[in-house]
């Protein structure tokens, strides 16, 4: 590449051309050297394990005896196991219930937290972000007390004030799912808010000024300026939330405690995988599950990113 092109500042300064050629070479070597640490570590503990996992997906192995090649048997076993499908169902249901509201509330919070007249901005920002600082284990333990089966648990007490029956949060199908989704929502909504806030602040002010002069009200500005300009940030958060939601593990495991791996109300795909590998010593099927998970994550992430990147496009066409 012509270095003059890269540094337009020095355009036309011919004297330095020769110097640049060696400079460019030096930069190239430095470039490769500086990114090398990531790639070396990645090769050892990222790429190699992933490839090995894929290989393992076609073997029968208990971790001790020699492996035997079984073709697609592991995949057949997993895909015909009702518990696997239950875990897929659980993961998707809790994923939607826990993350979809997060994205909506994240945008609302970010919009409000950026309003010019708002006082105590920093206080609100910090408090809404604070749950993210706690660990998932801590959150799961706190919520397992808040949402315990007991009639006197705070969640059931609130329900009783509304005249509703107590819910078995830790042992009923929907009780468990709702409690875990609320947990996920509580911990992550502030994180998404901060990302949207960064996005909103990157929108140039003159766009709003021009819109105000044109007579657009606040709501129209939100719909036609803020939202389309936020699109890359929405795509990013939808992507990361989808990936995160499909990897749900700590919350249900800690929330359900000792019974986590023996019950199926909140068994997620990763819990299913973990159970196969480290409870049943069936590393082949666990690896097959991991591969299926990768396919699911790629598919869901692609669909979601495709859907969300359509947001702005439609609007632009309509205008």
């Amino acid at each position: 590449m012509d270095p003059v092109k890269v540094n337009p500042v020095h355009n036309g300064v011919k004297v330095r051309k020769k110097r640049y050629r060696t400079e460019a070479k030096k930069d190239m070597i430095s470039g490769y050297l500086y990114i090398a640490p990531f790639f070396i570590i990645f090769a050892v503990i990222g790429l190699y394990p992933v490839l090995f996992s894929i290989y393992l997906g076609f073997q029968k192995w208990n971790g001790l005896s020699p492996m035997t090649f079984v073709g697609l048997d592991n995949f057949k076993l997993v895909l015909t196991d009702p518990l696997f499908w239950k875990s897929v169902y659980n993961t998707i249901v809790m994923g939607i219930m826990g993350t979809a509201p997060q994205l909506v509330f994240g945008i609302i919070f970010a919009y409000l937290l950026n309003l010019a007249f708002l006082k105590f901005k920093n206080f609100f920002r910090v408090t809404i972000f604070m749950p993210y600082i706690t660990s998932m284990v801590a959150v799961a333990l706190i919520f397992s007390v808040l949402f315990s089966d007991h009639e006197s648990s705070l969640a059931n007490y609130v329900l009783s004030l509304a005249g509703l029956d107590p819910v078995h949060w830790g042992s009923s199908e929907w009780g468990t799912k709702i409690a875990i989704s609320i947990m996920v929502f509580w911990r992550w909504v502030g994180y998404n808010t901060i990302i949207y806030l960064a996005g909103i602040q990157s929108i140039p002010n003159d766009l709003y000024e021009a819109a105000t002069i044109d007579g657009a009200n606040k709501f129209q500005q939100l719909l036609h300026i803020t939202m389309p300009m936020l699109k890359p940030f929405i795509v990013l958060t939808v992507f990361t939330s989808t990936v995160g939601a499909l990897q749900l593990f700590s919350e249900p495991t800690v929330f359900l405690g000792t019974s986590a791996f023996t019950r199926d109300e909140a068994m997620t795909i990763v819990m299913y995988l973990y159970r196969d590998a480290f409870k049943l010593q069936s590393f082949g099927t666990a690896s097959a599950t991991a591969i299926i998970l990768l396919v699911l994550i790629s598919a869901f992430a692609a669909i979601n990113v495709f859907l969300t990147s359509g947001i702005g496009r439609k609007r632009r066409k309509g205008q």
Partner: protein, 280 residues
Amino acid sequence: MKNREKTRKLSIGRLLVYVFLSLAALLSLFPFYWMFVMATSPSSAYNSIPPTIKPGNLLVENFKKVLNQIDFFQSMWNSFVVCAVVTLVVLFISSLAGFAFAKFQFRGKNILFAGILLTMIIPPQLGLIPQYFLISKAGMLDTLPGVMILFFLNPLGIFLMRQYISESVPDELIEAAKLDGCSNFRIYRSLILPIVLPAFATLGIIVFTASWGEFLWQFTVLRDPENYTIQVALAQLSNTRNVDFGMIMSGVFWATVPLLLVFLFFNRLFISSITDGSVK
């Protein structure tokens, strides 16, 4: 007339904004407060109807029970060591690579960068089993380095650092340093590092809290209670037969407080660097 009506309408709108945000702040803070209430109350408080919402006076007693169950201080120290090392290593790797991606021209740069981003979609669980055997072969099973090494990979860090460096370090500055005869690494050390310090606050907090809160890998690698990180130790608290909520919440409380203090101390740096870091 019309003007006054408009201001009144606006102030109702403003009031609603405050009410809504206060409610959100309340819901955000309540579990923390309630954790404190439970941590200071006897386990029986948990059975009372209506539920206790005033702190008790068992702050010390409950914590003593925690100390009987787990080696709390050792676990906190282990977690601290793991997170500190991971954070420093990630900051170093990310800023170095971010600098290269932002300011150097080399063949395959864009593909390599896209490759790094692509690694984000690989679920960490996909490598879990081979990583487990790899760590065990290297003799690092049940050791803190065995826990750390997985967190050294942080594609998001490289992404953030590249963005930050390409926006906040002018090319002219690097050119000038080069004319003065600075080597590239010298430029990194004395030019880039001071400039990216605010971004280090953001990335540092993200990395530190993420590795502090991680559970799956720590839960898989660590066996000996002496090596437990705080998350693994805390998870053990609820595994006892007679669940003592006062004790559990006391453990969670004391494990959460230091992290919250660190965050509150750095939060101005953190939140402002996230929200001001983007282009205006």
